[in-house]
């Protein structure tokens, strides 16, 4: 009798212990969000949050001969809510899966969000406090509505989040957008009290494009940077890792464009104080190769000082770019996003003690000198 009781107790215990945890969610019941878009509603009071997630059912079916062609490869759903978090919860009334944000690759802010200081700060805080969101996500700003980007399907890669991530992977081919991820953006916002640069994204008809960047000053959109200006900013902050510059060279009759393909950049900085004026010096050493010139000039690369001319022109071009960025930040916006304050604080702490308190006032007066030396290392397969 006693033995039987023991067995019964054991049975009950096993049943209780082995049934597993009650937190389990089957993988096909989860919606792995890949991209999130955040906009404001028309009255600017509520958020419109868009979640894009791939169709897990179709992925598990595999790529067996295009049989699942009729099924959508990816979904995007928008929800209007008072906060970002409530949007992620309220959306469960409309989809049959549980949202999981741990694999999110990109978060896109609509222009109206970054233009509204309070809302933008709230969004940022929501992202910072999230338990699920990874710190590796990419933040992007769009001059359009984030919803417009995410609700579209792109033929190249219907999974928009993965699409964006893959574009970021080969950033060093262009230097068209700063490769700043979430970690760096929040770090910048924390350290400079609300200033940051966020890459810009726009949607074309059948593709997306990441180029340029948005300037956030005091948690608010202060403007956009394109092409030269953007690259000038990247030169000054050491973000250029590759890409190309076009320089004008004399051709047959008219000037032709010659690309300088950047392969390596070394940046050195220095700060001096002379007669109460702070002089910030950036030295850039750029290495690269020439990949096209003109058919007519075959055989001239090895001759004379053609390479020197190219090198000098490249340096001038880079200098021009940096000057544009300096003008923008120093004269127009009067906000230090070139990392000068940060540099002084770290490497010249005694100077920082003097100027740190009213750095905002001192920064526009700082003299920024850029020295560029370029070296052509390779010229392609023809002399």
């Amino acid at each position: 009798m006693k033995r039987k009781l023991k067995i019964v107790i054991l049975w009950v215990l096993i049943a209780l212990m082995l049934t597993g945890c009650w937190d389990k969610i089957e993988i096909e019941d989860r919606a792995f969000v890949m991209a999130i878009g955040i906009d404001l509603s028309s009255s600017n009071k509520r958020y419109v949050v868009t979640f894009q997630f791939p169709n897990a059912a179709q992925i598990t079916k595999g790529t067996s001969g295009g049989g699942g062609g009729s099924e959508k490869p990816s979904f995007a759903v928008s929800e209007v809510a008072d906060t970002i978090f409530s949007a992620s919860r309220h959306i469960s009334t409309r989809i049959n899966k549980a949202l999981y944000l741990g694999h999110t690759q990109a978060i896109i802010f609509g222009k109206d969000v970054v233009e509204n200081k309070d809302k933008f700060q709230q969004v940022l805080d929501s992202l910072d406090r999230s338990y699920e969101l990874s710190r590796k996500v990419y933040l992007l700003v769009t001059p359009q509505k984030a919803q417009d980007i995410l609700l579209k399907k792109y033929e190249m890669e219907p999974n928009t989040g993965a699409y964006i991530r893959d574009i970021f992977k080969h950033y060093n081919l262009t230097s068209k957008f700063p490769t700043i991820d979430y970690n760096k953006i929040t770090k910048s916002l924390h350290e400079t009290n609300g200033n940051a640069i966020i890459p810009k994204i726009i949607a074309g008809k059948d593709e997306i494009k990441i180029a340029g960047s948005a300037i956030i000053k005091n948690y608010k959109l202060a403007g956009w940077m394109e092409d030269d200006e953007n690259m000038g900013y990247m030169w000054l902050t050491g973000l250029v890792k590759g890409g190309d510059i076009s320089i004008n060279m004399p051709g047959d009759g008219e000037e032709i464009k010659v690309p300088f393909n950047i392969s390596n950049v070394i940046r050195r900085r220095d700060v001096k104080e002379e007669n109460g004026k702070i002089i910030y010096r950036v030295k850039l050493e750029v290495e690269g190769d020439i990949t096209e010139y003109t058919f007519e000039k075959h055989g001239e690369m090895m001759k004379g000082d053609l390479l020197n001319v190219i090198e000098r022109k490249t340096s001038d071009e880079i200098k021009k770019m940096t000057q544009k960025a300096i003008n923008r930040f120093q004269k127009e916006l009067k906000v230090d996003m070139l990392g000068i304050g940060d540099y002084i604080e770290k490497y010249h702490p005694s100077l920082w003690e003097k100027v740190g308190k009213d750095w905002d006032k001192i920064f526009p007066e700082v003299e920024i000198k850029v020295d560029v030396t370029s070296h052509v290392r390779r010229i392609g397969l023809f002399r």
Binding site: D23, H103, Y131, S134, N183, P349
Partner: protein, 369 residues
């Protein structure tokens, strides 16, 4: 009355100390230390480690003067029986508080990251019963458990962070030492919360086989703990910078969110780290659990400590549930480490040392320590 099979070797002491010290503190240490000393967190941890080493050796020295007695007994000779009893009771509570704090923080973290719909009470009670099961069998199994878990804790945690090396900006540790001495001292003080645990040396001495090697094992335990903390703080501050680190609740876990395995099918390593971290905190909980019950059994002069193991579980359970929120948990942890830890780590050993010297008590043969 010490059973023969319940003795551990000096090497085991070393590992037991390490696993006891590395616990819940690891989660918040980089934030706490960045708040006080800015970019010089690493140096503050170094300072805190050296200070801890000094006091650990002082405690060891005191215990070695009474090689067959634990704290409860030898303080009776040093500072009169009634005061000794009061301090011993506080010590029992002190260990219990740390076990409860650890188990509460463990519950909070696990609930957030792995088991969102499991009630925290279930997580806590499961952990405490697991600990009780182990602790009932005494010191030797505990030390052996630590030996088994030690590599499981250290090796993956050291390797996991390596992919983030490329994100580290060394300039985040500059400017070098531009903080006032008071701030720096404060920074050292907050690191003590993470070094809490070597107070078990008060009670441990009679249970060690080769006491001659003990100094070395205490040194290696505290230095390796310090290096382990410095390693993690290096990654945290190197990636986030101190200004952001100090605002975070658990920078250690935020760091894990930044780990990106190149060419690897696992994208989020949080699950793995939570598993490892469960061991980390488990080792601390059972150690505090054991030494609380051991001190109590010495106090009440019972033959076995195991009588108190199970009754301690509901007490720790209730204490773990006292704080309302995670904010109050850390508020209490702050009080305990500011007042009680400083007393047991620093003030008490110095006092006892002075009394020892004045009264000329203790075993003269052990003078070599």
């Amino acid at each position: 009355m010490i059973k023969n099979n319940d003795k551990i070797s000096a090497n085991q002491v070393s590992i037991l100390l390490f696993t006891t010290m590395v616990g819940a503190g690891i989660l918040s240490l980089p934030a706490d230390v960045s708040k006080e000393v800015g970019p010089n967190g690493l140096i503050a941890i170094l300072g805190g480690g050296i200070a801890s080493l000094f006091f650990a050796r002082l405690i060891l020295y005191l215990s070695s003067k009474f090689p067959t007695e634990t704290f409860v007994e030898y303080t009776g000779k040093l500072i009169t029986r009634p005061i000794s009893i009061i301090i011993s009771i506080i010590l029992v509570f002190y260990f219990t508080i740390f076990a409860s704090l650890d188990v509460r923080i463990f519950g909070e973290v696990l609930k957030i990251y792995l088991l969102p719909s499991t009630p925290i009470e279930t997580i806590i009670i499961t952990m405490l019963f697991t600990s009780a099961y182990l602790v009932r069998y005494g010191l030797e199994p505990i030390a052996r458990m630590s030996e088994i878990l030690f590599p499981i804790i250290v090796i993956p945690l050291v390797l996991l962070f390596l992919p983030t090396l490329t994100d580290i900006d060394l300039s985040n540790f500059l400017p070098f030492m531009r903080v006032s001495l008071v701030e720096f001292f404060k920074g050292m003080l907050v690191t003590t919360y993470s070094f809490v645990g070597f107070e078990i040396l008060y009670l441990l001495f009679p249970y060690i086989i080769n006491t001659d090697k003990l100094k070395r094992s205490v040194n290696s335990a505290i230095i390796s703990t310090m290096l382990f903390y410095m390693y993690i703080t290096f990654f945290v501050v190197g990636i986030f910078g101190y200004k952001e680190t100090r605002e975070q609740l658990w920078p250690f876990l935020t760091l894990i969110k930044s780990i990106n395995f190149p060419v690897f099918f696992i994208e989020n390593v949080e699950g793995i780290v939570m598993g490892i971290w469960t061991f980390t905190i488990f080792t601390s909980i059972y150690s505090f659990h054991y030494f609380a019950t051991l001190a109590l059994s010495k106090l009440l002069k019972t033959r076995e400590h195991s009588y108190f193991v199970l009754p301690a579980v509901p007490i720790m359970y209730l204490m773990a549930l006292i704080p309302d929120s995670i904010v109050t948990v850390y508020k209490y942890a702050g009080y305990v480490s500011q007042y009680m830890s400083v007393f047991f780590i620093a003030i008490l050993p110095i006092l006892l040392f002075i009394i020892l010297k004045v009264k000329r008590l203790g075993d003269k043969d052990e003078e070599k320590t």
